[in-house]
């Protein structure tokens, strides 16, 4: 799997080097990473419309800066880094973090309007538990738990030591579990 990813990155970067194949290369880049980056962003901002904005900004930033991209750095981690920064900037601009009430309201609105949301109370509860985490811990939890990103790559994305990331994920997992224990009233069901 990591080898495959490396090979695709190599192919993308090779195509991006030449003006003749640049468009095809950029198209392959979007195709390869759009879904992964979409979910990485959406887990943080929740709403599809916001995710769409941030994702488009991410790819446009990638497009503008790809010429200066250093090939020794991983394309995948570089793009995650851009997407993470774009998401953090968006959340900081919004100033208030999305609380459970907003989350439920937003997801209900979306589910009613366009059926973008599966009615699953346990999943909503898990999202609420993650939402309680501090911003950086939330990103670490999402990258490790959902994306199953190796710590080495997470370290490049977040510019944090592997040891600190492991400790942070461990704390985050304990907090999430505790929240679920406190609120998951049908735990034995």
């Amino acid at each position: 799997m990591p080898l495959l990813k490396k090979d695709i990155d190599k192919q993308i970067l090779k195509q991006l080097e030449s003006d003749h194949t640049f468009d095809a290369g950029f198209s392959l880049l979007i195709q390869t990473y759009q879904e992964r980056l979409y979910w990485h962003i959406r887990r943080m901002v929740h709403l599809h419309a916001d995710t769409d904005d941030i994702l488009q900004n991410t790819f446009i930033k990638v497009f503008k800066n790809i010429k200066g991209f250093r090939t020794e750095a991983g394309l995948y981690t570089w793009m995650y880094r851009i997407a993470t920064n774009e998401t953090i900037n968006f959340l900081n601009k919004k100033k208030d973090t999305v609380d459970l009430k907003t989350l439920n309201s937003a997801t209900n609105q979306e589910s009613k309007a366009a059926q973008y949301f599966d009615e699953d109370e346990a999943q909503i509860l898990l999202k609420s538990a993650i939402e309680e985490l501090p911003q950086k811990q939330k990103i670490i939890f999402n990258l490790r738990y959902y994306d199953e990103m190796p710590y080495k790559e997470m370290s490049e994305v977040l510019d944090t030591s592997i040891g600190a990331l492991k400790a942070s994920f461990h704390h985050a997992m304990n907090k999430v579990e505790q929240y679920l224990r406190d609120n998951y009233d049908y735990a034995n069901g």
Binding site: D23, F26, S27, I30, Q31, Q34, E35, Y38, W39, R42, H46, H48, D52, L55, Q56, F59, I60, F63, T107, E110, A114, Q115, Y116, F117, D118, D120, A122, Q123, I124, L125, L126, K127, R144, Y145, Y146, Y151, K166, F169, H170, M173, N174, V176, E177, L180, R181, Y184, A187
Partner: protein, 167 residues
Amino acid sequence: MNKKIPKDYFNKFPDRLSSRIEALEENIKESAPLLYKIGKAEPYQVPATYFDQLKAQIEKQTSGPKERKIGLYRWSSIAAIGALLVAAILVFSLQDKESEDGLMANRVIEHIENDLDYVDDELLYELVTLEETEELSEDLDLSEQEIELYFDYILDDMTDEELSDLL
């Protein structure tokens, strides 16, 4: 006694050990049973054709030459600032000539302040001809390049809205 070890064994050993430690540390099934029970399914859905359209949308935004919206603002602003500088020089020279009461200078300043909104772009362009720029540079003892740099410096700090307001 044949003591062969697999090729790259020691090269791969740290990664293998690290993976096992990570797995031990994150034995979610045991350390977070509720989290494990809920699983990783996403509660959100994405509009059916979203990813097909996204690619096309981004390509649309990134293809072709970019419109330089700032271009018109920039030139108009250069003209406006140039006009103000010319006017300022004029005011100073008038102040010298009418130093007794300074009334003329005050009237020119008043005119600039009150009636600048009515000055159209064409007039502004006319005001900043190359000849005047040369005169300006002589009066201020600045080269054309320095004046251009000065304009760039001013304009770089201005937002589109401020430029619009200026015009």
